[in-house]
């Protein structure tokens, strides 16, 4: 059963730049297609300012398309982006398009505080992860904040992610990554590099892998677990009589050392086969 089919309401994205980015919000508003599921074309406008605890779902709902309109928030003139479009399938943004538009969006925010505000906003619309999914084995390693990531491959072979963090800024990054990757094909996901998303940084340099660059770690984790899912799917498809499969975290040959184990990625990936 495709786990995405029980989705029923869209989320909106409300962005709050202090300046209008000419590319981002031209006179005639552009529609950024923040969408996850090709089937959810018809959407209504709902502007949650806070994550809805009820919506804690294995299948997080994501954005459809947005349009910008002015409003005032936190004492700054801002732009709120309202969902309202019918987005035909062929207008759906590819991962590459999304990466490009995200880069454009963050590049247009030259003031650090605006970038932080934007991230906080994106954080606020990321559906929270169930308590039961906030477990050690879903942790993304190497972060100064806690990040939990669930990765699933659906029956069509595309990827679904759920992610959450105890830090709001980190959650904002995660929210952006979700928008880019959720529902995408593995090849698309694996083609993105940290440099492609470098404009999303708040403060950190574009280049180089840093232990504290949370979204790098989340990105790598999403990609590593996607790879694991692809591998497992290949293996599973070559087996008959397979219903459902859950990959456990790697068990390493040679056993742990000093009561430690080698954790490069923490692949917990499940996928469904009809």
């Amino acid at each position: 059963m495709d786990s995405s089919s029980n989705l029923n309401f869209p989320f909106t994205i409300s962005c709050t730049p202090t300046k209008l980015n000419p590319q981002f919000c031209p006179q005639k508003p552009t529609f950024l297609t923040f969408m996850k599921y090709p089937s959810s074309f018809l959407t209504i406008s709902s502007i949650p300012t806070k994550p809805n605890p009820q919506s804690c779902s294995k299948n997080p709902i994501f954005f459809t398309s947005i349009r910008c309109s002015r409003n005032i928030r936190h004492g700054l003139s801002s732009v709120s982006c309202l969902i309202m479009e019918e987005a035909p399938l062929d207008e759906r943004l590819s991962v590459v398009d999304k990466v490009r538009s995200l880069s454009l969006e963050f590049r247009s925010l030259s003031e650090p505080i605006d970038r932080v505000k934007r991230l906080l906003h994106y954080a606020s619309i990321l559906p929270p992860l169930c308590e039961s999914a906030r477990v050690q084995e879903n942790r993304v390693l190497g972060c100064t904040t806690q990040v939990w990531l669930e990765v699933r491959m659906n029956s069509r072979g595309s990827m679904n992610f759920s992610v959450d963090s105890d830090s709001e800024i980190t959650k904002g990054f995660c929210s952006c990554l979700m928008w880019v990757f959720d529902g995408a094909e593995p090849e698309e996901i694996l083609s993105v590099t940290a440099e492609d998303l470098g404009d999303m940084n708040v403060g950190l340099p574009k280049k180089g892998r840093s232990r504290v660059n949370t979204w790098h770690n989340v990105l790598f984790s999403m990609q590593n677990r996607t790879k694991d899912c692809v591998q497992e799917r290949k293996r599973a498809l070559s087996l008959e009589d397979l219903h459902s499969l859950v990959i456990r975290p790697h068990e390493h040959v040679g056993g742990p050392s000093a009561n430690g184990s080698y954790l490069e990625s923490e692949p917990k990936c499940s996928f469904e086969v009809k």
Partner: protein, 477 residues
Amino acid sequence: MITTTTPMEGAMLKLPCLRSVSRNTNFTNRSSNSFPWSYRRLHISASASASASAPLVEGPKLGPGSLGHITRSDFPILHQEINGLKLVYLDNAATSQKPRAVIEALQNYYEAYNSNVHRGIHYLSAKATDEYESARQKVANFIHAAEAKEIIFTRNATEAINLVAYSWGLSNLKPGDEIITTIAEHHSAIVPWQIVAQKTGAVLRFVNLTEDEVPDVGQLRDSLSSSTKLLVMHHVSNMLASVLPMDEVISWAHDVGAKVLVDACQSVPHMVVDVKNLDTDFLVGSSHKMCGPTGVGFLYGKSEILSGMPPFLGGGEMIADVYLDHSTYAEPPSRFEAGTPAIGEAIGLGAAIDYISEIGMQQIHDYEMELGNYLYDRLSSVSDVRIYGPAPSRTVKRAALCSFNVKDIHPTDIATFLDQQHGVAIRSGHHCAQPLHRHLGINASARASLHFYNTKDDVDKFIDALKDTINFFTSFK
């Protein structure tokens, strides 16, 4: 409650002789015109009341002409803007900044006499060897070691701890032996001992915190027994800011025949540390935390213990003779310095020691105590802030750092905003002390840590920035 016993440098307090330290002409002029005298007056009046340490509001040492104001100009990196705002650097427990004297020593080495040590008979090599060995002597003098050969240069404190673990630990510990440490250690003082315990069958035991959030030395004393072979302990906590009475602790350990390794990473840069008085067997420190370059640290070990230890790494420099089937090892310290060391960096560390010794470690300590108390007072007055570690009082002294959390705001969000919006650099995360964080029931904390080149203005800017940060995040809820 723990009373701290800080070794004193001597009754006479040295006056800062910054002229010879600073090569900044502007600054030299200024200091020769006004600062030394005003500083001397301030300092002497302050020293009379230095022992009375009820939480301080604004002590006389903190005003214009303070040690921080005087020395700031020696640190080129501090005079820059971050996001259009003046940098306020409060991440000194992670690493310190480098005075011009250290940068110049490094530059001079690479420009004038870069060469391998102990290997060539040519002029450059001889000069490099002299300077490198002189740096070793400076470290020895600085921590009051009896001889330079008791100092082994390593890459950092972590490597120094690993050296003891792999060399002394693997050859001296057997099943059932106990290594005692605390839950408040830096990971670098925990993980090597986990490895050694697993390899040797020794048992690793951890001392908890008291209610005052200080490692419980009473519990530690009770846990010592004839099975205890090693005590591994920090001198000053990088998270709790607690200062442990190491001289007492070491004597208790020696009473049961145990050896002691002191992690002095957070004490050596900020106070007088005297290995002879402490009578410690091993002590480690990192250059980069004491105004020296990265890439070099040191292990102090009592000569008789070092002589009996096998090498840690094999290679050039650490051997007497090599045959195809075996080698004979050089005497310490060479035995433990396989391969080409970080020569320029060790020389840079020597320059850093010259620089801070010139100011005087007791003065650095006194100033930091006052500034640290000021930080504690101001931070504890911000609502919804919880500071970890002991509260300062007449008997309890804290190091000049505060790890804290603000209710409902992640420390990483705080650190990000402080950096982005205010140019204030603090640390967030678990500060390589996860067991301690777990014990305190938290995953992460923020930490502001001071050094002698920080000023009261830095603390004020930090507090204002923190209040703004809290308001910002609160408005988003």
